[in-house]
Symmetry: C2
C-alpha cells in the first residue's frame, strides 16, 4: 500500500492515524517500514505526536526504533516508556546495541537501566561491557543459533525455525560439544541440501574460522572481509563459544577505523561530526594545535639562529615556505601509504626493508625532478646560479629525508604497538619543517660567500 | 581432521599428497579450507607443485581459488588451464568478480577470454562492464533467487533449494511480476515461518529498498549499512530487476572509498600500495607535488613583494613558518571533518549554514587562544610589544580564515558535484599559506614604522 509513498506522505499519514487514533492503519504502515525509516519517521514527527507514536508501537517495533537512535535520544525515549515497558525493550534489544547504549553511562545509571531486565540478558550485557573497547567481545551479540553435536539435521532445522524470529542472521549455525566448546559450523545452504536424518556432526565444517573475544575489532573486520562471512563466532580462551560478530557491525567498524585514521592523519582530534558543538570541537582540536604551535616556534628559533645568513640574502626567505611545504607534502604522502597499507597487510622484516627501499627510490626520483626544476626557476627568477644550486640541492635532500621520515616514523611506531596514524600528518609535516629549514639554511650558510 | 593444523602443516600435507598423487586425501583437505586459505596455499606452494595443484582441483574449487587472486595471477592461472577448463571456470565465476577481472584488459583480450563462455553468462558480464565504474551496476552480480508473484511458499522453498548451491546469500529472495519488474522481497526468516500454502505475494514485503544500476557505489554502501542488509536489489529505470549487490563487496567498497579519501586528502595520488613499483609510485605522486611546488612559488613571490618590510625586520621571518603551518593545520582539520561527514550525511542548506557557523565559532575560539598565546611569547622572545600584537593578530585572523577555507571550499566542490576530497589537504594548506602570508605581511607593513 505504501510501496511508492514518499517519506513526507508517510509522515502525514502517521499524523492522521495518530489524530484519529486509528491503530489498525497505523500498524499496517509500521509493518511496511524498515527500522531505520521508522526511526526517521519518529524524529520527523511534531513533538506533540511523538509520545502517542511510542504508545501505539508494539514492543518489538519500539525496540527496532530505539536501536536506530543516537544514545542521547535512546535514553530519552526509554525514560518516557517507564520502567516496565523499557525493561521489556532492553530484553529484546541486541546485546551489542544495548552494550553500546550503556557505554559511557555512570555505573548507577547502568544498574538502574538493567535492574528490571531478565537476569540472563542482563548478565550477558554486563559481560560484554567488561571487554576492552574496540575488541570482538565488545561488538559481539548472542543472537545466534547453536546446536549440540549429536543433533540431527531435522532437529537443527526445527531449532532454527524456533529461533528464526530472534536470530539476526541465519546464514550459519554453530555446533558445540558438552563443554560449550565450538567444534563446527554448518551453513544454511548445507542444511538445505542435507538429508533430514544426517547427524549435524557429520555434515559440519570442522575447521572453523573464529576470533578470540579480545581480538581487535579491526582484525575481526579484516578476517570477515577476507572470508566474505556474514557472521563470525567469538570464543574465549578455552574455545568456549560466547557470541558472534555480524557483518552489519563490521561495516560500522570499517567506517569508524577509517575515520579514526583520517582524524589522526589530520590531527583533528577525536570524533568531531556535524553535530558536535563549537566549544567541544574547539576543545578537541586545540591540544594538537598548541603542540604544533610549539614545534612551529622551534622552526622560528632555527631561522633566528641563521638570521645573519638571512639578513645578508633576503631572497633565501622567498623559497622557505616552498621547501618546508614540499617536504611536508611528500612526508604526508608516504605516511598515508604506510598507514592505509598497514590496515590490510601484516608486516614482515623483508617487507619493511622493501618498503623503505621503495620509498627511498621514490624520494630520489621526486627529489631529482623537483630539485632540477626549482634550480632553473630560482636561477631565472633571482639571476644567481649559486642560489639556484643552493635551493635545488636543498630541495633534493629534504625531499628524500621527508619521504623517508614519512615512511620510517610510522613503521617504528607500529613496531612498538603504537597506532602509526598517531604520527599524524601535521606532526610529520612539522618535523619535516625543522629538518628542511636546518638543511636549507645549513647549505645556504656554507655557500654564503658566493651568494 | 585438519581442524587444528597450522598453515605450514597444511602446506606440507599438500606437497606430500601431490608427490604421492594421493587425490583422495588432497580433496579431503581442500574440502576443509576456505577459498581465501586455499588460494593462500596455492601461492605458498613451491612453483613445481603449483601446476599439479591446479590439475587436482575440481572446477568448483578452482573457481574459488581464482576469485581470491590478484588480476595478474588470475590471468596467469587461466592461461595455464587452457581454453576448455578456463571457460568452465569463467562460467562459474561470480559475475562481479569476472567483471573486475576483465576491467582494464584490451578489448581483444576480453573477447578471447569470454569467447568460449556460456552465452547467457557472457552477456551478463558484458552488460556489467558497460556500466560506469564505481556504480551499483558495476559491482552487482546475478547470483540471486527470484520467484514470480503467483508462486506459493512451497514452490519458493523448492526453488531456493535448487539454487542453494549457486546463490551467494540466501537471506532474501525477490519477487517479480510478468515484466521482470521488482515488486517485493521475502526474507528467509519469513519463509521459514510462513505456511507452505501461502502465496508469496501475500507474505512479501512491498516497500522494497533498492538501488538504481547507476547509483554511486558509496551511496549503495550507505544504504546497506543504514538498513543492515546482506544483499540489496539493483534495478534499471523501469524497476526491472537486473542484479544484487552483496555485503562482502560493500565492505570492499567502504575500504576503497576510505582509502580514496585518504589518498586525496594527502594528495598521494591514485592507488599506491606496498607492491607498487618506485617509478610508478613516483609518477603517481609527482603531478600534485609539481602543482604544489608552483603554488609554493606564489608564496615566495608574495614574500618577495614584502621584501622591503622583511629586510627592515628580519624577526618577522621567525614567525612565518609557524603562522603558515598553523593556518594549514587548522584548515586540514576542518577539511577532514567535512570530507568524512559527507560520507554519511546528506546536506541541506540549513545544515550547511549550521556547519559553517559552527566552524566560524571554532575558528574564533582557536584563534583567540592561539593568538593570545603567541602574542605573549613573541613579546617575551623579541621584547617588542608591537611585534607581539602583529603576530598575535595575524594568527587570530589567519586561523579563522583557515578554518573557514577548510570548511567552505570542500562544501562548494560538493555542491558542484566535484568530490570534496579533491580539495586535498595539501591544496588547502597551500591556499592557506598564501592567505596567511598576505595577512601577516600586510599587517606587519601597516605597523612597520613602530616595529
Amino acid at each position: 500500500m505504501t510501496a511508492t509513498w514518499t517519506e513526507n506522505e508517510v509522515t502525514l499519514l502517521f499524523i492522521q492515524c495518530l489524530k484519529e487514533r486509528d491503530k489498525t492503519t497505523f500498524l499496517s504502515i509500521v509493518d511496511e517500514l524498515q527500522p531505520y525509516d521508522l526511526a526517521k519517521q519518529y524524529q520527523f514527527l511534531p513533538k506533540k505526536y511523538q509520545n502517542k507514536f511510542l504508545l501505539f508501537l508494539p514492543i518489538k517495533d519500539l525496540t527496532r526504533v530505539i536501536q536506530e537512535l543516537e544514545q542521547e535520544n535512546q535514553l530519552e525515549v526509554l525514560k518516557k516508556l517507564g520502567i516496565e515497558k523499557s525493561s521489556k525493550v532492553l530484553d529484546l534489544m541486541e546485546n551489542d546495541e544495548l552494550a553500546s547504549l550503556l557505554t559511557d553511562l555512570e555505573p548507577g545509571q547502568v544498574e538502574e537501566l538493567i535492574s528490571e531486565m531478565n537476569m540472563e540478558e542482563a548478565d550477558m550485557v554486563k559481560n560484554i561491557i567488561h571487554y576492552p573497547s574496540e575488541t570482538a567481545g565488545r561488538i559481539m551479540n548472542n543472537r545466534f543459533v547453536w546446536v549440540p553435536r549429536q543433533c540431527t539435521v531435522r532437529e537443527a532445522v526445527d531449532k532454527l525455525k524456533k529461533f528464526a524470529e530472534l536470530a539476526e542472521y541465519l546464514n550459519y549455525f554453530y555446533v558445540i560439544d558438552e563443554g560449550k566448546k565450538l567444534i563446527g559450523v554448518v551453513s544454511y545452504k548445507d542444511l538445505i541440501l542435507a538429508d533430514m536424518h544426517d547427524k549435524v556432526e557429520d555434515i559440519m565444517y570442522k575447521r572453523v574460522i573464529k576470533v578470540d573475544a579480545l581480538t581487535d575489532q579491526e582484525e575481526v573486520a579484516n578476517i570477515m572481509s577476507r572470508y566474505d562471512f556474514v557472521t563470525i563466532p567469538v570464543v574465549e580462551d578455552d574455545d568456549r563459544l560466547v557470541g558472534i560478530v555480524t557483518v552489519d557491525d563490521i561495516i560500522d567498524v570499517v567506517i569508524q577505523e577509517a575515520n579514526e585514521d583520517i582524524e589522526k592523519l589530520s590531527a583533528s582530534g577525536k570524533a568531531i561530526d556535524f553535530e558536535t558543538k563549537p566549544l567541544v570541537a574547539a576543545h578537541r582540536r586545540l591540544p594538537w594545535l598548541i603542540i604544533l604551535l610549539g614545534i612551529g616556534l622551534v622552526s622560528g628559533s632555527i631561522i633566528d639562529g641563521f638570521s645573519a645568513t638571512l639578513e645578508q640574502v633576503v631572497a633565501l626567505a622567498f623559497f622557505m615556505p616552498m621547501i618546508a611545504g614540499m617536504t611536508g607534502n611528500t612526508g604526508t604522502q608516504s605516511l598515508a601509504v604506510v598507514v592505509r597499507g598497514l590496515v590490510s597487510n601484516d608486516l614482515t622484516l623483508k617487507q619493511v626493508l622493501r618498503l623503505v627501499l621503495r620509498e627511498l627510490w621514490v624520494g630520489i626520483i621526486i627529489g631529482v625532478t623537483c630539485g632540477l626544476f626549482i634550480s632553473v626557476i630560482a636561477f631565472i627568477w633571482q639571476g644567481s646560479m649559486t642560489l639556484g644550486i643552493v635551493v635545488g640541492t636543498s630541495l633534493f635532500i629534504t625531499l628524500i629525508i621527508g619521504t623517508l621520515a614519512g615512511t620510517i616514523i610510522p613503521l617504528i611506531l607500529y613496531k612498538f604497538d603504537v597506532d602509526p596514524a598517531v604520527a599524524s600528518g601535521p606532526l610529520i609535516t612539522t618535523i619535516n619543517d625543522i629538518f628542511s629549514l636546518l638543511i636549507y639554511f645549513g647549505i645556504a650558510t656554507a655557500f654564503i660567500s658566493r651568494l
